[in-house]
Structures are given as C-alpha cells and as structure tokens.
Symmetry: C2
Amino acid sequence: MKQIAAVIEMLQKILPGQVVIDPDVLESYARDETIDLVALPDCVVRAQSAQDVAVVLKICNEHDVPVTPRGAGTGVTGGAVAVAGGIVLSMEKLNRILEIDARNLIAVVEPGAITADIQKAAKQHQLLYPPDPASLDTCSIGGNVAENAGGPRAVKYGITGHYVTGLEFVLVDGSIIASGGKYVKNATGYNICGILTGSEGTLAVITKIYLRLVPAPACSVDLLLPFVDLDAAVAAVSSLLQNGIIPATIEFMEQDAIRFVAAHLGQGMPCADAGAHLLLQVEGSTHPACHETLEAIVAACGIDGADVFVAQTALQQERLWKGRRSIREALREESPVLLAEDCVVPRGEIAEFLKHLKEYLRTRSLRSVMFGHAGDGNVHIDVLKDSMPTDQWKAMLPELKREIYRQAIALGGTITGEHGIGCIRREYLGMAKSPEEIELYRRIKHAFDPRGMLNPGKIF
Amino acid sequence: MKQIAAVIEMLQKILPGQVVIDPDVLESYARDETIDLVALPDCVVRAQSAQDVAVVLKICNEHDVPVTPRGAGTGVTGGAVAVAGGIVLSMEKLNRILEIDARNLIAVVEPGAITADIQKAAKQHQLLYPPDPASLDTCSIGGNVAENAGGPRAVKYGITGHYVTGLEFVLVDGSIIASGGKYVKNATGYNICGILTGSEGTLAVITKIYLRLVPAPACSVDLLLPFVDLDAAVAAVSSLLQNGIIPATIEFMEQDAIRFVAAHLGQGMPCADAGAHLLLQVEGSTHPACHETLEAIVAACGIDGADVFVAQTALQQERLWKGRRSIREALREESPVLLAEDCVVPRGEIAEFLKHLKEYLRTRSLRSVMFGHAGDGNVHIDVLKDSMPTDQWKAMLPELKREIYRQAIALGGTITGEHGIGCIRREYLGMAKSPEEIELYRRIKHAFDPRGMLNPGKIF
C-alpha cells in the first residue's frame, strides 16, 4: 500500500473523470447498510466498462493495492466496504440493461443495474426475473450475484444462483473472461458461474450477467393470514408444505413486525392484532385458479373463518409488500442499533429454532423481532439494542451471535442464508465450517487471486 | 505409477475383500457407455464408506497412482473410464438411500444410489426428485452430480445442480469435508457444492449427497403431438414458451426416432407417421386442470384437430417414456457405431441450428436422428456410421464434431449441455472456452488436486 499515491495518479491519467478522491464524496462510499461499520477508501473508481475494471485490477494487483468491488452498497455484512483501505471499484455507472431477449427468455445486464428495473423490463415482455431481495428497489444485480441473494420468492423459484446462465468477469491480472451465455444447460467445463455466485467479490469482478427469465404468471393474489402466535403460524407453514402447496412466497412476521411497520409508514396494516402473520403470494393462470389455491391454503392452515386479508389490486399488493420490505427500516426507527441475523435451518425446524431463541433472548431481557422466509427455513432475527449502554451492547454481541449460530447449527442449519459472511461474521465462520473446508477456500482464493488483493478481510 | 503393485498390495491389506484385480472382472470396469473407448484399470476398489475413499485417495496421491471415481458407468463421455490407468474407485457399494426426510423435503443419499430408486422412495412420501436423465433406471446419483445431469424435466424444474443442498466429499489428501446440509438457502462461505457439481470427478470424490425435494404433482398427463416436420415442431415449442406455457417436459423427436424405437421395442408407437413429434408432460392438481392446460397447449401449437395422443394411465405413460428413453439404444441397433452429441443453443435458435446441421449432414450423405430437450435448447444429435468403413468414419469424426460445435457456438450455444466433456471432447474445449478460462480451470484443479491424481485426462 506504500504505492497508493502513485497508483491513484496512474489511474487518474488512464481513466480521467472516473477517479474520486474528494473526501466528502469518499465518505459516501465508506459504508453499506451494515450497522457500525465504516472504512474510508483511499479513492473510488467508477468503472464504465470491463476494460476499465481490467485496468484498475491489473495496476492495483501489481502495486499491492487492495480493491473492493461495490454495487449499490445495500449489503448488510460489509461486503462493499474497503476495510483494508485501498480502492473502491464502483459499478454504479456500469448499469445498463443491455437486452431483454424474450425469444430466448434471457436478460443480459451490467452489474450496476437495479434489480427492480430488470424485473420491470422483463415484465414488459410478460416475463419474470424471480429473485426479490427486500432491497430490490435500490440493490444492484451484481451485488445480488456476489451475495447469491434470495428473497421471499425463493421458496418457489430459488435464489439468484439458479438464474445466472453466464457471467463476464475480470480477474486480478486483468484478464476478461466470458463464461456461459444465453443457454440454460451447460456441461462444458467447470461451473465457474457457480463458484463466483456468492463469493462476495473476493474472486473476480463481474462485468456482465446473463439471467434466465420465466414466463410471468398471469395473475397473482396476496394474502395476509393472521395467527394466534408464531408457533401457530409456523405450524401452518409445515402443513402447507406437507400438503404439496408451494405458493410463490411464504413470509412470516411476528406481531411486533407489523406493529412497528404500521407506525413507521403511518398507515394501518390489516390484521394488526394477530400474534403472528403469514404473507403468501399465490400465482395462477386465472383469478378463479388463484382463488382455488387460496381456499386450499386456508383449509390446509386450519384457519377457516379467520379474518384473512386478500390483496387483489396492485395498490393493495404494493402496500402489503411495502410493509414487509420496510420491517428493518421500521425496527431501526425503534432502535437505531440492532443485531440483524439471517440464519437458515431445515424448514421443519423453524418452530423449534424460534422457540428456543425467543426464550434465550427473553431471559436476557432483549427485545427481538423475527420475520422472514418461513417456506425455506431462512429466518431474520433482529435483536434491538434499545437503551442498553453501547459498551455493554458491544461487549455482549459476540456471545449473543455465537448463541444464535450455535442454535441454528445444532438444528442442522447454518449461520447465514442470504446475507453472507462479509467481515462481520468472519470470526464465526469456523463454527459452521471445518478447518479443512476453510483451507480449501484459501486454496480456491489463491487460484483466482494469488496476491490477495481482491476484497481482503471478507469471508475468511 | 511405478509403485502401482505396492499400492495394490497395501490396499488389499487395509480393505480386504474390496480390491478387485481379477482381469475378467476388471474388464467390466474398462468402459462406460461411451462408444469406442476402453481402458483397463490396474485394479478396482469398491468403497463402502467415506473412510475407505479417504484411504484410497491418500495412498494413491502419495504414490502417484491415478484414481478414477466411478458410479454406475452409464456416462457417455468417458468420465468413469481410467484412461490413464491406475485405480477405479467404484461407488457401487456406497449406494444407500439414507433418508427421505419428508418434513424437511430433503433426501440424503450415497453416491451409488440409483436415481430412479431415489425418485421412487421420494414418491412414497408424495415428493418428487425432478432430474431425470434418460438412463435414470441404471445411473447413479453420484454420477448425476459429477456430470450435472439434466433430463426432460429440466425445462420446468432445472438440472441436478439446482437440487444439491449439501455434499460430503473427500479430497485427494484424504480429508473428508461436509459442506451444506438439509437447508435450501446458504450464503456461508464459497459455493463448494456448486463447483463440484459438473466437475466430472476431477476435483474430489463425493460420498454423500443432500437433495432438495419438491411436492409431487397430484396428476400428470403425457401428450404426444404430431407435426409435419421438425420445423413445425420447433416452431410450436417457441409458441408455447411465448405463451407462458412451460410443461414439465418438452421433448422433440424426429420421425426416425419414433420409427426406430417402435422397431426396437417391437411395439407400435402412436402417431408414427408424423414427420416429427413433441412429447409433453403436463402436471396439475386435478385431472380437469391438466386437461385445461392440455387444451391451451394444443391451441398454442396451432394443431387443433390433429391426432394428439394423450397418455393418462400409468401404463400408457410408461410406454411413451420407455420409447423416448430407448432412442439411443434403438439407434445403436440400427448402427452400432454412431456419434452422439448434445449441444445446447439459446432456446429460440433450435430450429435454425437443426436446419443448418441437417443440411450439412445431408450433403455428406450421413444419416442422423435428432431428438431431445427442445424446451431448453439442448439437442441430441446422433449421426449414424451405418456401413461407412471404420477408417473413413474415424478420419472424418474430428471435422464432423468441429462443424457441429462450430454451428452451436455460432448461434450463441456451447458444445455440451448435459453429457460433459470427459475425454472425448477434451481437444475441442478450446472452441468453447478461452485460454484464460481454461487456465483458470487448471488453477482450480490445482487447488483441489495439486498432483493431478484425480481422474486425469478429463475435461482439459
């Protein structure tokens, strides 16, 4: 890093107008959505092409300057934060939706494209790009691939990795490689797209993405189902799965989640009195077909006669989902500092997991709100700091995290389902992974990035 | 390899009764389903546990003896053939279905388990393991993972890799690693399952597999649709996709495929006079629902009034699918030697691809039969040797393969969709992959298998 000044000067010459060193601007690249994590980069380069990326990587690699790739900065584990200093390589200008190829059911996009924009573009062709992280209106697709983002629809449609059919990416030595393309089956060589997906920007910088699209359902209906408590809601999820009913989403929310959201958005939410909720999306080729499924759901959940809220207009649907997607924001209004975990357990173990965890948190007088993707065992656990003194909170966090992870792992799960390890769970990776597996990560990292210049300080 | 005799002696001591050196028995491990490929291993070890696998790998790695992992030997690119000699490590005894965990929608199996047996076991719980390679009655799940096998259902359900949630595997140094498990979302560390899937046994030996299951559809109906010619059939596929209709399968077959199968099985096949056929499977929650979809399909294909064959009983369905799965066998009765390719192109390009290819083959007076997975652009192209003298056939093959691959790549596709590279397409990998990507494969291979002892001579 001795040569950082010289490197910045070089980059300014080669990429005039794309290199940011103004401290006020750098400030806005010093964090993502991770709580309590700030690190100012030495400079930011806003790449406009794969060639720009190649130049930056090659120079930095040769001069021992770390590079942290960055999408929209909506990650929650510090993936886009330059914790080792050096250069933030921003993809914000490399943001075009290059093509919605309706004939081949493929989207070709640049990493900085916003996920919701891709979905809107696909929808104009009656096509759907299913993965839908809560931040979809602001997150970028490159970040989604780097983190293998999930979202509510994962229960029916799977996660980001299931949709990536090709990637163009740049290695630290500046080579630009295109692997895969507009075809959906591929047994030609190693699954490079597979290992890059979820690698949190530590192996290569992605510069173009091919995404598989599916036909958009003709109709969809959203339901909010009220339950007495979390146990009852989670039992209903098991019952749905056992009955072979897999809606597009099966989200659950504790009462507090709905309550805080209602306060945050300043709007009433339906069924606000219930102890817990499930938010389901049902798809079908016709409205009657959706309603048939809806009735089957209500029957399978054993809540005939309950006050089910059915959102049928776009406005009602948008309102429900805005509520769901605003939970974390609403919680941060309640307690600006909180611990946000996203463990995953086998789907049948959710009730057990939440029960034990709730008990543990109660004995420690910690307020918590649980919500998330009940259909695939991926739980968001937000623990509020509230008025606890900061020192005490910080001192307690490692043991709290350890306990949450320990419980998830004991039930056959793991420590993160969609948010990634980043820098905030690095020291806990060994709870979920054997030393042999972590050593294998090191060797894979070395195969891609022998000098360790790409996003250092992340994962392991 | 100088030490092979000493290594065999060691293994005989450590794994008594599991080491085969009888030349007559070795003979049956000298080939898989690849035409014209035979290589006798020095010995075969039939592993019965991950520990057995670890012992074999560690000793062989230390003594420079190549190891070729082998499932059921149904591959068609030589993946399970010990082309560099050494030891074949057979998984045939490591073949238990350990658990169908209906509550968590997960199957836990050993690599030697037969794919169809897993499907049957899942079905007893009203669950489905979707991937269905044509060899499903005889192929093993470990081979499916190693090759990232597809099958007809891929168009709706995706390929093997989409169902692997965890793997236990053994590295050449003998370390046994378990990555993933009974959970369906995972952002904890690198996607090791992703890179192992499709790695053709060159990176590690898989000893346990966790598979995601889905609810089995309550009803399914199979249709055989007749078309005037291949063009018309392929146009119908486009029309289905454009209309948002994705049945569980969209298989196409040329007239000759049906004709040869009928002769081979000694049974009449329906619609045998048509120039081409589509074989669709429609799933639904009720029979009326299936029939509604069926009518939508017939309308979208523009073949109202045509002689559509609808298979509704298990017997009729089995008969149709037996026909489809017997195509290659039937072709080999017609011409024992043939070239079997499985290129993939963007789905909208199938008609173009087949038209050009057919023309090319006709001008060279080569008989060919085309069939396969129209819905996802994955085409089986079987070119018959017929009475061509063997020397002439062999001399012509490289150029013929090159031309087929060239056409697939020119349309934005690649050289193999589900069969893999193995040893028979190795020299053509450079047509589809850049030198930089192949160099990256080398470095990944080195990270897993630094001395190159695992399945040498495959992929690159």
